[in-house]
Amino acid sequence: MVEATGLFSKLWLVPALPLAGALFNCLLGRQVSNFVVSIVACGSIGLAAVLSLLLFNSFLKLPVEQRHIELCMYNWIPSGDFSAPIDLLLDPLSMVMITMVSGVSFLIHVYSVGYMSRDESFARYFFYLNLFVFFMLLLVLAGNFLVLYIGWEGVGTCSYLLISFLYHKQSAARAGLKAFVVTRFGDFFFTLGIMLVFVQFKSIYFGEVLPRAHEVLTPVMATWIALLIFGGAVGKSAQVPLHTWLPDAMEAPTPVSALIHAATMVTAGVYLVARCYPIFQLSPTAMSTVAVIGLLTAVISATIALVNNDIKRILAYSTVSQLGHMFIGLGVGAPAAAIFHLLTHAFAKALLFLGAGAVIHALHEEMDIRRMGALKGHIPATFWTFLVGALAMAGIPGLAGFFSKDAILEASFTNGGVLLWLIMVVTAGLTAFYCFRLFFNAFLGEKRWDPHVEEVHHPAPVMTIPLMLLAVLAAVGGYMGVPHALGGADRISSFLAPVFPPAHHTDGGGDSSRLGIMLMTVSSMVAMLGIILAYYFYVSPEGREAPGRLRQTLSGVYDFLSNGWYFDKIYQVVFVDRFMGAANFFWQAVDTSVLDMTVRGLAGLVLGGGEIVPRLQTGLVRWYALFMVAGAVVIMGYLYIF
């Protein structure tokens, strides 16, 4: 452990700046103009981003063994052998996370200025958004489980507030509630996991818990802790079976979807598992659970994305699917690849969401891809940047998604087996297909716009410039992790290596590099195939009829997929209806009839008594004296008899 010195002692400013911005916009946002609000909101995040980059620069100059810096702010709860200080931890993992979070947040804040410019709750929006960034940075910088948990719940709250941002809309209010309840369900297990960690280790510091994990924990206990922590990750990162909240969360304004439900908050689960990786490594059961849940999620949500027609929901299911990929990466022992994929996915998916926001904006809040088309000539900047994002998502060689996805694929092949790899390659093909189904439907083909759209809204420069910057990141972001097989140095893995014990490290020998190139070739070809198929289905004149025919032939499968594997319907019947029934029973039968009647009866009794008893106080002195005498007589009689 290294004491924070020099620039590193200013680490606290990284989360504090967004917090200051949030406080300003909360307290004064309604008094000042929208211009000031946006300057404060974007400026505070921008400064945090610049500071993160400066920190990264100094961090790289440190020798590897010193890259673990703790900064204790103050001791929050000292109690016996328990102590919970607010302390920040800067190690390679949190370093890349704060850089990504602050950078992407900054771009999305700038974009939001344009996107939300006509909203009357402008200051409220930026208050929530800044607050979210504060909690997210606190989450990734946390030096112990409790601080991480504060950030964890804080981002959940902000997510709830932003999903329900248009609170007068019933569907938005419900979606916010659903997101909150479902993620809280996962958080419950996470809470138990933290308690179990404290019981086992008598400490909640990452710096004390993780290095001692293999000495302290029995395999069974490690499995329990890992699975409980993973429960929290499943909720937050929208993994099967708790993934149902994320598609509904698309009720949020589109930049929020880009920031919270694509780039940052939903990846907190991946970050959490990566942070606790030494515990997961002790338990093969937990590792395979992570991989299996990830695989199920990746496949299920990729298939749903094939048939959905809502531009944002397709991207949401795609996010769920990609998060599944990251968990597979964690489960098969390639945490660095998972974090790498987290970063490239954050760039690409934020780009896609912001592009989708520009499309929605252009067509006057149209979200159905069946009523889009031919936008290429109207909003060229969005078209080109969206193309970059879709290619990066699909895993076309040279762009960011390719390197990170293939790092996971290769680890799955070596550590997980051919079957796992095969399923993932097919999923990658599906990913390419649905990304380009969306892309072709929105930008190419003929005009199918709603008749009331007469003129396209052109995105302002404040919206297109963040798109371009993100497009650059999505294009070149992969070069921080060019694998050994392609003659690269895989810098992201070696940078993250001190965080992850090298138990599963795969080195790039001659044989594995040939294997790696072979795997990459196959997966790229599958991705190409997906794109070509999408082109044939949605652009080329010959294939125009094909989707309709396919839909009729496989109508059962189509219904199954377009209903999202019936997850929502089953949950509605099994949990929601039951719970609503019980709630109704307790409301009408128990609360109104029994409890309220009891309380009202008591109140009536007291009121009635209060009418009668005061009449004894007559004000007549002799009357009181009579009572005294009567009392004395009673007492003396009592003494005489007994």
Partner: protein
């Protein structure tokens, strides 16, 4: 000894007259006099028990009680005087404003 019982009886009678007078009469001055009767009835009981047991404790009590009774009556009479000046009556049943 017979004498002590007789003193005690006198005390009880004094106290009883005081109680009955307090409950039945309405003039404030009479009520104060009844209180005096009760105090003296109790004092007489003290003194007669003293004669029976031969201790002096009861006599001390009585001395105190007499002093306090004198003080009390001084305060009470001045209050009565003020009440009479304000309300022109000495009837306790008229003095009933302190009620619910």
């Amino acid at each position: 000894m017979l004498a002590a019982d007789q003193y005690l009886m006198v005390g009880v009678v004094l106290f009883g007259i005081g109680v009955i007078g307090f409950l039945t009469r309405r003039n404030v001055i009479v009520l104060l006099m009844c209180i005096e009767l009760m105090i003296n009835g109790a004092g007489l009981a003290f003194v007669s028990f003293c004669r029976q047991t031969g201790s002096l404790d009861g006599q001390v009590f009585v001395l105190f009680a007499m002093v306090i009774a004198a003080v009390e009556i001084a305060v009470a009479l001045s209050i009565v005087l003020l009440v009479f000046r304000n309300r022109a009556t000495l009837d306790v049943d008229e003095m009933e404003v302190l009620k619910w």
